[in-house]
Amino acid sequence: MNFCNSNHASKVIDRQALDNLFGVLRSQSYTLFGPKVSDQAIVYDEIQATDDLPIGWTDEQDAGSYRLKKRDDQALFGYVVGPHSLKKYLFPPAQRLWQVSRDGEQIKLSPEPEDVVKRAFIAIRSCELHAMAIQAQVFTGGEFVDSTYDSRSRNTFTLAVNCGQAGNTCFCTSMNTGPEVTAGFDLALTEILDGARHEFLVEIGTELGAEVLNAVDFRDAEPEDQQTAKEIVNRATGQMGRSVDTTDIKDLLTRNHGNTRWDEVAERCLSCANCTMVCPTCFCSTVEDVTDLSGDNAERWRRWDSCFTMDFSYIAGGNVRTSTKSRYRQWMTHKLATWHDQFGTSGCVGCGRCITWCPVAIDITEEVAAIRRTDVAGATEPLKRGA
């Protein structure tokens, strides 16, 4: 991801120019990944042109519910986020880490070749950009660097888009992660659609972005264009379907491990792991060691895992988190509280996916509010002598 304090003034392009811009990226060997309608949802997939985008579609989301609906216009970006996030590209759901073969005494380990695919991420929302930055911190920001994540995130181009509307499960304003794209992009669009007018205000985030934009027709943005774009983002801000009071949230959750609300939510939670699969920041994985039939060739695979599965906490003798209550508590407390200690930020970007895709409509924002209402103040007593 490229960060740059660019002084470039904003530009305006039309749909044809946007299509051309996709072409420019492809001519520079980028593979484009962006939103696309598939299986009655808007997912991320490989795209070629603006025609592949979910033109004229929107999504209606609520806790445990997601429906596509036709819009009465031809908006390219008139929806929010779907079940996929970009993590599937940078941290693939299943990934071979290495292969090893044995020939008599000789053992040969073959690391995976460095990923050199140039990926252009198209129509990326602010919450998604924040999620990428959070995952990058996990995989590349510490003492150890995950080489596969590192190589995959190196050759990317990010064409962001400001949200012009918010979904019913969105709460990025609470998490300070949107809806306005502020950093981590090469180019950022705001779609202006007003009767016959269909244009895109383009902000330039990096030199690379400026170069790509220079290859297509644009005009300088007028103050009115800027004003219009601002109003569009403000409209999304005003539409947030959910909110979270994050005041003191780290201490609130860590001191409430004994709150009976966890029992209540565990009555509903199916421990299905959907929330962790759709979450753009969840990073847990497991490894699988496999061999071929000869037994002389083995591979190690890394696969997404979830703290909601029983085996996740297995140690010789048993599982540490046997109850659904403890697993839900682990997930939510990690996401909103202990993540701060580990990585310096919240692990939640307020995208609302975990709410939408929960089959029993558990709502993380509602759970935080419930814990806050029933706050069990007072932490664990320190050990005393002669107890």
């Binding site: 995989f139 150890f144 990073f283 060691d289 083995a298 682990q330 664990t380 320190p382």
Partner: protein, 287 residues
């Protein structure tokens, strides 16, 4: 002569997910379910450095990988020693390894026992079961630097007489005049004339100065809980108590998420923790 030597700095440069191949020098039976694996670097000339308390990820070809604490002498660089309990598919496969077989090693990982911080103080080591294995390197270090420490106490609890690890060494250490070594078993079967009862029973009367003691504990969590309480009852501060924790682990470098313990990652923040740093979460069930 290879100069392969793992230091923390070099680990960052090398890909921490890729194993290096070591050769089995010998597999020694310790008890009915526990054995010790001596590994040498593939070309026979490699050197392996670690700090007492650290662990390796050991991979058996095609079977899988498990975290195992290092239990050899930190002064020995040619051989890497692990004492392993055969409790799962991978560890059972390890028990069947033969001299010359190859094992994938990633590591060393994790935090260490505070043997430097403890200089000039009494050292009290309390262990149970296989918990003696991760503490043996610390004990070796203390023995090799005996003059750096005041009183040295080793308290060890095992299930039965037949489950006692490192029996010959324990006998040797018990014979030293400047060490207090106590061994006890939970259950007495056969001709055992030693101590019977839990390991915590020695704490009230062991010879150490609670105000100038560094305590190192490793064992099942319940055993550690009672041990900590007994040490605190004696007047040892929780900041002077160090424990080694265990959780599921897949990567050992903080990527897989499995070993999270509150805000800690056992793999990189632990496994050895100053107890005062985890005191608030230690008693929380299913954390």
């Amino acid at each position: 002569m290879s100069t392969l030597e793992f230091t923390k700095e070099q680990m960052v440069l090398a890909d921490p997910m890729l194993p290096t191949w070591f050769r089995v020098q010998c597999v020694r039976r310790e008890t009915h379910d526990t054995f010790t694996l001596d590994l040498a670097c593939q070309d026979g000339g490699g050197r392996f450095s670690f700090a007492p308390g650290q662990f390796n990820m050991l991979y058996v070809f095609g079977v899988g990988e498990v975290p195992i604490s290092i239990s050899g002498d930190p002064a020995t660089k040619e051989i890497v020693v692990h004492t392993i309990r055969a409790v799962g598919a991978v560890t059972r496969a390890m028990r069947n390894l033969k001299r010359g077989d190859q094992v994938g090693v990633r590591g060393p990982f994790g935090s260490a026992w505070p043997v430097k911080e403890a200089v000039g103080r009494d050292i009290v080591i309390v262990t149970g079961g296989i918990g003696l294995a991760p503490l043996r390197p610390a004990f070796y270090h203390v023995l090799a630097h005996r003059n750096d420490y005041n009183r040295v106490v080793l308290l060890y609890g095992a299930r039965t007489r037949d489950d006692i690890l490192y029996r010959d060494e324990l006998k040797l250490w018990r014979g030293e005049l400047d060490l207090e070594v106590e061994v006890t078993v939970d259950s007495s079967v056969g001709r055992w004339r030693g101590n019977v009862g839990v390991v915590t029973k020695f704490i009230p009367r062991a010879e150490f100065d609670p105000g100038n003691t560094t305590a190192l504990i490793c064992g099942p969590e319940v055993m550690m809980r009672f041990t900590i309480q007994a040490l605190v009852d004696r007047g040892v501060e929780t900041r002077d108590i160090h424990v080694s924790m265990e959780r599921n682990m897949k990567c050992a470098v903080g990527f897989c998420g499995h070993c999270q313990y509150g805000s800690k990652f056992i793999c990189k923040d632990g496994p050895v923790f100053r107890f005062s740093e985890i005191e608030d979460i230690f008693g929380i069930r299913e954390l």
